[in-house]
Symmetry: D2
Subunit: 297 residues, 4 copies
């Protein structure tokens, strides 16, 4: 059975999780099948090390993603993989003091070598050196990441493909990551001035000029909110799917239902919205596959 057949059966349930799963496939299929949709993807949590790197690269190659807003951690991991490093399989019950002594850092049950992070620092420095001085004096994160992408010799790197396709990747919290530490260290001895206003102008323009905007929200955090707030200038996104394990009751933006964003003018109306409670790195590949099959028909 194909994934889109399965999705159709789930959609027929209409209620609860399966109804939402089916509707997510349907809405995403509509976004994918309509070139007038500007598809903006937000990434929070271990999206890249969790295996979506390859899914996202395929979608960017097919022009099915038009902008990405991400945490610094996902950029860091794309660069680590782009430099040839792979994560190591650990366990969520590993002893962290032992790992520290072994030079391993943990994300739930995956491990990263400290030596890889040091390699990243050296590489970042070299890449920054290659950036023209005047560029370095006033640069947005999407420009910086295009530059990094152009320097990576890995065709399956999200940064690399984004660079080639000139698809912007925004990283409003870039300083809050291992890569961010490298940027800060560099800035202590060299001119480097990252200008978040350049990013926001670019993102708002993208949103403003699009006929329709569709938000694909994987995890919560600042990336989610950033995509939505940037679209308030156009009266909100036209459609959105979000996949999250965060709860709504605490009142934080991460777990908030998409409907709430209507009251802020960040989403247009109730019709094309769906929230799926679950792990984005498990569900999104399945939903995307189903949506692609739908869009092809």
């Amino acid at each position: 059975m194909t994934v889109s057949d399965l999705a159709k059966q789930m959609e027929a349930v209409k209620v609860l999780g399966p109804g939402r799963f089916g509707r997510a496939v349907k809405i995403l299929g509509e976004m994918f099948g309509d070139e007038h949709y500007c598809k903006m993807v937000s990434l929070a949590g271990p999206i890249i090390p969790g295996g979506l790197r390859s899914v996202l690269v395929d979608l960017v190659e097919k022009d099915l993603i038009n902008a990405v807003v991400t945490t610094g951690a996902n950029v860091t991991h794309d660069m680590l993989e782009g430099l040839g490093h792979r994560h190591i399989v650990g366990s969520e019950t590993d002893n962290d003091e032992t790992l520290r002594r072994k030079g391993l850092s943990r994300i739930y049950d995956l491990l990263v070598k400290q030596s890889a992070i040091e390699h990243l620092e050296r590489s970042t420095r070299r890449m920054l050196d290659r950036l023209p001085l005047e560029k370095r004096r006033n640069i947005g994160t999407f420009e910086l990441l295009w530059h990094f992408g152009s320097q990576l010799n890995d065709k399956r790197s999200l940064l690399s493909v984004a660079s080639r396709k000139q698809m912007p990747i925004f990283c409003p919290g870039i300083f809050d990551s291992m890569l961010g530490l490298d940027l800060w260290t560099y800035s202590q001895l060299n001119p480097l001035f990252i200008n978040p206003f350049k990013d926001f102008s670019k993102l708002v323009n993208l949103s403003y000029e699009a006929k329709r905007v569709g938000a694909i929200i994987l995890g919560g955090g600042m990336p989610k909110h950033h995509v939505l707030i940037a679209n308030s200038y156009r009266g909100g996104v036209d459609a959105a799917i979000q996949i999250t394990l965060d709860r709504p009751e605490g009142g934080g933006a991460s777990g908030a239902p998409l409907e709430e964003a209507i009251s802020w003018g960040k989403v247009k109306k109730r019709n094309n919205l769906v929230t799926l409670i679950g792990d984005a790195i498990v569900l999104f590949p399945i939903i995307a596959l189903g949506a692609l099959e739908n869009a092809r028909k």
Copy 2:
């Protein structure tokens, strides 16, 4: 792309949710492919109204499920559907006082007609009348449910198929459901004595006589714990997958990791266990599909 191909790609991630998803497909495929595995399924939450009725019926028809332990609510819903009633699509923001006045009862975003529940009460009474008196004086829930299943004219009813296949469905909390109220009401005027010890003996025997036991835990609650505790007499289950949205930190059995059950002798060892955080009615159909494709090869 088939679901099993997708699962293989996820399994390759090895870590986080995708790694667990891939392993769940693998473990379930091994259970399905090995006739010496006694497959015990536990059901909690709106499994039947959430669309798994049809998936479970197919698996029972193929002899891929050997015992079910469920909440009373799922039995109630199977009987409601067996009597021809379908749920109505509502919304989780519906006003419940209004619904009450309209004779509708709500489960998140699905609605059930009170008139359907009244129909169930009348039907249950008739079905109980048809049960020989001596049987009614000392009956286990699995026997009672076989009797109900034999009375339903719906080939896609789980009770009906279970009755035909003589596959036991245990309902240790049968009183705690709309069907349970009907049983209690009946018992006030007629002899009816449900004996939980008969159920437990049957379940323990099944477990004891099996070469291998595999637990498929959908949701938590008493059904989960019941399958595990019954297997403590044989030194634990040999393999298990569980899908749940419940958290471990509160210390309740619903959200507990399967590993914890090793310390109680309810699970044999760490190797063949996997917990997936998510909504069972979304994930199980996908995992089962992948496992079936695997088992066929």
Copy 3:
């Protein structure tokens, strides 16, 4: 600062978690201050080993609890403590195979000695032997637990105090616990017939005869649903507070908002309801303390 002063400040926030915390203190204070309220408490999760045993005993001593519905695990733990056993401090990252070899069983980060469980089995057998044969042939769980309570030499045992006060403790899933295994084992060689209908009749009568019913729902599971469904014969409870970490979106009864129960006739109206997302064994003692201070004024 006293807890009730703090609660008043939280209540003043009116919204989000603090607003709910403040309202929970207020509603519980009204229940405690009004002798016409029949207070029914449901317990799921490690309520007794998590430290609420002493809080509950104090409330029963003060006649502030009129009925309890609980999982079998909580009864088991009350009896274990009543026999002099204390839990051992472990860790949620302990190796369960090692624990098994050491004769220790784990609940998150607390450990129970297998030898204590064996002691419980021997004691249970002796206590059952002391029960008159005709009683044993048709007994409700509340009667059985009164008997067990009368046999324990521990004044801080919930069963013991309940027995002395003739406050019923219902355990609809008693078979699904270590104590339940002991009952089943006993029944294999001796006459023992536990009749759940007797329990339900008693519970329904309590609810029916009460001027007002207030539900105090600690954790979800069958105990929560049982208290609510028993009150459907009187048109629903008049007030309720629930504290849970379970989510609503999956559609299970454990995480369902109390408002949903209005549509089933299990709760009367929206006014006196509050759901608090959190760990009941942390929050309830604080809320109860605040409510007691309020009720005294």
Copy 4:
């Protein structure tokens, strides 16, 4: 009963939530009682509108907080309240399209008037105009927020007290908020250059110069990670408490246990760490009260 007495009883449980609650009070009491501890607080989710504004202001007044890292939303809300606006009580089931038409924006069950947000924009513009041009050309968020604080006539404003006390508030995601939109709009017509490197240098210096660092993590998100990563230059924080409703299994930083940060060198060792699963705006005031009572002794 005082809160610290209650906390001591909970600590005595040693395990599960109560054990963690008791330990959180103990660890926070040690931080509060030791002037060599640099206390760094991270805020994510509706901390300010959820009622902690007043608690935080009291702690800053008493020199018990030395640095704050927060989302832009909390700064926005502090300024809204500082300008005299109060939130309105709504409901999580309000219709958001209706709210939009009425000029109300929703955060779970609290409402904010759009007119208040417009007032904030005008005020922000005026405050920025008053900032010397050369300052505006290269400013960190902590300097910008001190300036805003100095302009507010509200003694219970966190920004205002922070400004008076010269306690830095860092807002690494300031652009991602209503206030951020105002800053961006202003920057389109006036020179304004916010330099995140200045913030990070200040934060790292604070951490580096402190004898001991204690992290108080309320909610997850970028603020949590930011406090921890800044402390990696000193080998990690010495003690930390975190209160969150986010789950660990997804692998995101928000829900990660503090122990994981040891493997990254962001936390020193296991001894002085505690994670409490719950709503920070409910639990922190209680824990802080208990800790203050402890520290006083």
